[in-house]
Assembly symmetry: C2
Homo-oligomer: 556 residues x 2
């Protein structure tokens, strides 16, 4: 049926508001021989018409996260086992870094397979038809091509559904790429170029480090977010703070290497100073909004004084858990110096008139502050660290896994209503932003906080019950093989595929021209795996590497 | 002076519209001890206040290009000399590809130096203070790092001016990255997150190909665009068409190689089919807008029937000039099949009911259509090809150099008023969009069409009068050296620096940790170079490579 004809029908009925548009839609759809796609088209068209009908283009409101899907790699290594294996002091990784487990990817997984999997599951779980997506942005720093974007690889999931009209590309700046992608998706929806459809943001990374000190700070993860108006988790405008600068703290100039170049000391310094700058900017903006009384939207933070007590949760990009604790302590120091009213006068007295910029490398002060802010940390930050602690550094999605963890730390959606969360995104190089989201009860929208919680809880169940532990020596062998295979063509993954789950999209092969092929894994007996089967996978991997060694010995 | 105090003063005067805001600003500024930055701050604050004062957040209108700065590399090779050198048939590059000259970069130039130079010149020429920039987006496919963005490298130009609050990151998808960057900058300005400041988009590429057939399709270029409301070149909403898909037509999977993997035949096919799809979508949307009468903004295209006659210019991403001519012929074929009224009935008759999708590889048809559309091409596309013809493929900025060339093809700004331009952006992999811009006389804005024309004319003068020709054998030697030096560290550029011009920012060195250092070239006698001095540079390069050869022979 001709869309032009449909649009004419809608126009003839002249809907002037949402209610009229609804009735007009019913009239058009019931009276005609329409299919599902016609209906989708009509809804978009009608919506745009009402939105634009006054001559003014009013922005949609409460834009934010409608739904999400998380990737949980099937393999992990235990950090205390790694301590023993690396022959370092007990607690170096588990207490010093605060990490419990680290996710690992097999050779069936690459950055595209992770992104394809979460996007495919998001569409399946939400029932959103690919035609309803008008924008797709990707954030990653696991680059496999200098020109072709991962966004275009994801278009595989749309082409079969006859939708190629999907804006957006890849957003690159270390761990900040995911935040850049979300911001761009939100701005699109608020712009006059929005066509009424949803946006999706996909971000993911496989974080691996060369053998040595940094290896335990690896990890892997990916997530897909459905973005739209009338959302249960809303991005607030008016206070967003940004700090960007040119530094070489962590970067990946060896394009043929899996591993970054890291100046660890500088990176922590940059992170801390970006945190200070963004927090100051954020607080000033909020105060300005309050003074000027200009923002009347609900999704704007206006407060005479913003401090840690303003927020139900305070979450950070988390390369390792201990840095999140230090960061919370750092914000507490900011509040101390500003003598925020939630802190007793006697306590703030000794910090009065200190210049925070001079207090960067004072280890004693840091320890003291961590101790003082312990309760705040346990209340506002720790509930967001469950995934990070058990998966490791995920780079781009790291901050958003913290948001997810916090959302399921409250047993019901009612407990989240009206609660405000402060987020700090950091990508080396460096790019950083601080902003707030607010949780709300949605009206006339099927995407609820409870629905979000259920998606996250499913991921948490996979994390807790469906993973397999590998020994640290297998981690080393796995990463060595990953190094050797990086950009080797042609390539066919050979590691045990028992780790794959029904619905996973995995790397099938790379041909001699570097073209990558993917397939969806169909359920088999493995999908019914339980704890008793955990051992066999570890064994399969042991045997795989033994056979590989033997065959390579034979070849020599 | 405290910004908080200033914002309070502004608020107390309660400006309700732009005129009142202006008087209020004068009052505040005159009465207080303010400096330049206070004034800038006040203007932003006041503007936001008025913008948001009604409770509704109305979008700023007429968002588009306010000013631009183009990069013209100093070196080029002549395509007919290259034909002789490559021993191919006369006219293969000059007529077959339609190219006259190809830009080359010396070892003092890398992607960051190009981007730094145009951004620095844009700020200097427009007099826009770095504090007035709130967003900076970069588009490129000349990647030198998998994590650190070029955006952060550009932050060097802001940090000294005490502005680190600049949103945006790198946008990646082959030649489409620049378009993605522009779209994102525009959406930001139209969003509720806009803080009233300008956006800047910087895009650039150094396009080089392995020795052989594809080498003459190289080139280099970069440009910086100042983006804001009330612009002389406005991006129109409502009709933007997008087509994205997963293909391997041109990509760069060898991360350590300068050169792409190209399936030339497939790439032209993908380009053509993306062009068809976007044009159909664009025309349908415009018709829908017309039928529904919903768009009342001037910056929206509403027309019963859009066809080539709607536009003063029709411009394409231009890897080589001949493809732009073929593309115009292709759009003409679309118009023929649709029997557009500007074409005589007798002509359209034989194309009636043809399915355009089946007409992709018909060479006879293509020749015929190029002949038929010759006049349209000369009128609407050729005026936009001057830079492409004389610089080669510039990847991300290619389409925008076409826009620039068209803007100076009209002698005065009056001749551009109200004229509409159709643009088609294509990036392999693939991502493509078609959209329109409209030229307008601005009111109460110092960024005029005439100003834009002057900037572009300056670049054109550099192109025509300040470049040096290198012989094809020097091109080969230069590219061989570029290959050898790619990612070699430490590195100090050694080629003759006589090609640098005052104000150019050039690569000074790369240290052993891959950290790159840049400097601004200060005027010397070379900046007064004229045609008589052109020969010496060619000679300097000849001697440079002779000495290099000698010293490498000695070392062996």
């Amino acid at each position: 049926m001709s869309h032009l004809y449909l649009s004419k029908l809608v126009s003839n009925n002249q809907p002037a508001n949402m209610k009229q548009a609804f009735h007009c839609l019913l009239f058009v759809i019931e009276g005609q021989n329409t299919n599902k796609f016609d209906v989708i088209f009509c809804i978009h068209f009608c919506f745009r018409k009402v939105m634009n009908g006054t001559g003014y283009l009013h922005r949609p409101s409460s834009v934010g996260i409608l739904a999400c899907e998380l990737y949980i790699p099937s393999l992990y290594v235990d950090q205390s086992a790694l301590e023993t294996y690396d022959n370092v002091s007990k607690g170096k990784y588990t207490i010093g870094l605060g990490q419990q487990r680290m996710s690992i990817c097999s050779d069936h997984e690459d950055i595209c397979s992770l992104c394809l999997t979460v996007l495919s599951r998001l569409l399946d779980e939400t029932g959103v038809h690919p035609q309803q997506i008008g924008r797709l942005d990707v954030g990653t720093e696991t680059l496999i091509d200098k020109a072709k974007s991962i966004k275009t690889v994801l278009m595989q999931l749309f082409v079969d559904h006859n939708n190629t009209a999907v804006e957006g590309a890849d957003n690159i700046n270390a761990c900040y790429g995911g935040t850049a992608a979300i911001f761009n998706a939100i701005h699109w929806i608020e712009s006059s170029f929005w066509d009424g459809r949803y946006a999706v943001v996909v971000m993911g990374d496989i974080a691996v480090y060369a053998k040595g000190n940094a290896r335990p700070t690896g990890g892997a993860g990916a997530c897909a977010l459905l973005i739209g108006p009338n959302a249960p988790v809303v991005f607030e405008s008016g206070c967003r703070a940004t700090h960007m600068a040119h530094v070489y703290d962590f970067y990946k100039p060896n394009l043929n290497s899996l591993y970054p170049v890291v100046d660890g000391h500088l990176s922590v310094q940059c992170f801390t100073s970006a945190l200070d700058t963004c927090y100051t900017q954020f607080c000033t903006k909020s105060q300005m909004n309050h003074e000027s009384h200009t923002h009347t939207h609900t999704s704007t933070l206006t407060s005479r004084e913003v401090n840690l007590s303003t927020f139900a949760a305070v979450l950070f990009h988390t390369p390792y858990v201990r840095l999140a604790q230090k960061s919370l302590a750092r914000l507490y120091l900011n509040d101390l110096i500003r003598a925020c009213p939630y802190i007793a006068n006697a306590t703030t007295e000794k910090y009065k008139n200190l210049d925070i910029r001079t207090l960067v490398n004072d280890k004693d002060l840091e320890r003291d502050l961590i101790e003082q802010s312990k309760e705040l940390f346990e209340q506002k930050t720790l509930p967001g660290l469950y995934f990070s602690q058990n998966m490791g550094n995920m780079y781009t999605p790291s901050l958003y896994y913290s948001l997810f963890a916090f959302l399921i730390s409250q047993p019901t959606e009612e407990q989240l209503y009206g609660r405000r969360i402060l987020l700090f995104s950091y990508g080396s190089g460096l790019a950083s932003s601080m902003y707030s989201v607010v949780c709300r009860k949605v009206h006339e929208c099927r995407f609820t906080l409870a629905q979000l919680q259920r998606s996250i809880q499913r991921a948490r169940n996979r994390l807790d019950n469906e993973r397999t532990e590998l020994t640290p020596d297998l981690l080393d062998k796995l990463l060595l093989e990953r190094e050797e295979n990086d950009h080797a063509v042609p390539f066919i993954p050979k590691q045990p595929n028992e780790t794959l789950k029904a619905g996973d999209i995995y790397l099938k092969s790379i041909d001699k021209n570097h073209r990558r092929y993917y397939d969806k894994f169909i359920a088999n007996d493995n999908s019914e795996r339980n704890d008793d089967n955990a051992k066999p996978i570890q064994q399969l991997y042991t045997e795989y590497f033994r056979n590989r060694q033997t065959s390579s010995d034979t070849n020599e």
